[in-house]
Amino acid sequence: MCVKNKDANNIICRCEDITREQILKCIADGYRTLDEIKRVTRAGMGPCQGRTCRSLIATELSRAYGVPMEDVLMSTFQPPVKPISLGALADAYME
């Protein structure tokens, strides 16, 4: 197999099939944070909730903007940490 555009074949978010090419395009378009990229691409919104792609995208941001990793703004974290069914929510009770 011959890979023509290597970034197009390099998956950063496996849940939502977001490629490195798409992430780099977002950065070229001026998006500067994980949350912005998440909102425009859905990277990090799949079943694993960003556990796989978050640090990879942060690395790209750090590289592109020349800022250390500690200064890359983290996403906001909200419950639930994993997708749950509406049925489970509807059955909610207090222990």
Partner: protein, 338 residues
């Protein structure tokens, strides 16, 4: 043990974290069960939990959120459950890091931990021929266990100039015929609908592939053992102050010597506080438990002694050369405390 009532919530169907699939013997001292295989340590800890009437265990249950008012939500018995604990200990561990390279979504590319689960928990031979990426302890140990399972390991490649894991683990797989190639990276994975091989190359100081060193490694599986990230979502949600500390492998909650976060009553223990060896994680779990019990008023002379012992054990485990980066990380972390 000190009298507090404990609810243990475990996402998996069996508690024990990574210990339940680690068939190798642990290091450390006898205080951390050194020389015992982790699978046996896990069983012993589980027996202790099950025989203690103060501990209730919910398996197949996931903590979904921790709210500012202290409410913890759990998916339990397929229902969304709210609980209001007096203290919370977050010991969610870590997630495997992934790597960006062309072809990285081909079937046959796994985290090394996933392959270890397939082999040692589910009894599945996961591959015929593996390329292992990463020569930390996980990469080295999983390579050994693959070899034990009758899987050929083509090579272990590592971007750093030196092996990150224990050298005895490296020597063990090396004498079994598995090459360990430092300063090497994966350029791409290839194959028609599944992994059929990988291109690797030697890299220079700037991590750039050196032309002419490209090599083809035919394999049906590529294992990534390129580090772990602390699983900190719950700490973020709860509003714990966090800090990015490279030596601890990412963002970690800022904890004090008691392992309490900046949110009163929320403690963290194990890899969620920074990636370290499992022996240290076990001691941290013990220490966080003791401190949570103490803060609830379960104060006995025994508790104070247990607390001191745990802190001494952590100091001992971290005092050597291999503990350098952890000590540096914890030093940085202490700088963030107010």
């Amino acid at each position: 043990m000190l009298g507090a009532k404990v609810l243990l919530v475990e996402r998996d169907d069996i508690p024990g974290g990574q210990l339940v699939k680690q068939t190798h013997k642990f290091f450390g001292s006898e205080k951390q069960y050194a020389g015992d295989r982790a699978i046996h340590i896990a069983q012993m800890l589980l027996d202790n939990v099950e025989s203690n009437p103060n501990i209730e265990v919910w398996t197949n249950s996931t903590v979904l959120g921790i709210y500012e008012d202290g409410v913890v939500t759990v998916e339990h018995d397929e229902k969304h459950t709210k609980i209001m604990p007096k203290r919370v200990i977050i010991s969610t561990g870590a997630a495997e890091k992934f790597l960006g390279f062309p072809g990285n979504d081909l079937p046959g590319i796994y985290g090394a931990g996933a392959v270890q689960t397939l082999m040692n928990m589910n009894g599945v031979k996961p591959a015929e021929r593996v390329l292992m990426v990463g020569a930390g302890n996980i990469g080295l140990i999983v390579s050994y266990q693959l070899k034990q399972a009758g899987v050929e390991v083509a090579a272990v490649i590592e971007g750093m100039p030196t092996i990150g894991g224990y050298l005895v683990h490296a020597s063990k797989i090396r004498r079994a015929g598995i090459p360990v190639l430092t300063r090497h990276t994966i350029l791409e994975a290839y194959g028609d609908n599944k992994v059929e091989g990988a291109k690797i190359a030697e890299i220079d100081e700037k991590w750039q592939p050196i032309p002419g060193t490209e090599r083809d490694i035919p394999c049906d599986t590529i294992c990534l053992a390129v580090g772990l990230s602390p699983l900190t979502e719950l700490a973020w949600q709860a509003g714990c102050k966090m800090a990015y500390i490279r030596e601890l492998s990412g963002h970690v909650p800022i904890v004090n010597d008691d392992l309490e976060t900046t949110v009163d009553g929320i403690y963290c223990a194990g890899d969620v506080c920074g990636i370290e060896e499992a022996s240290a994680a076990m001691v941290e779990g013990r220490l966080a438990g003791i401190n949570a019990a103490l803060s609830l008023g379960y104060i006995t002379s025994e508790a104070e002694e247990l607390r001191k012992n745990a802190m001494d054990e952590l100091d001992e485990l971290r005092s050597g050369e291999m503990g350098n980066h952890i000590r540096n990380g914890l030093e940085k972390l202490s700088g963030y405390r107010t």
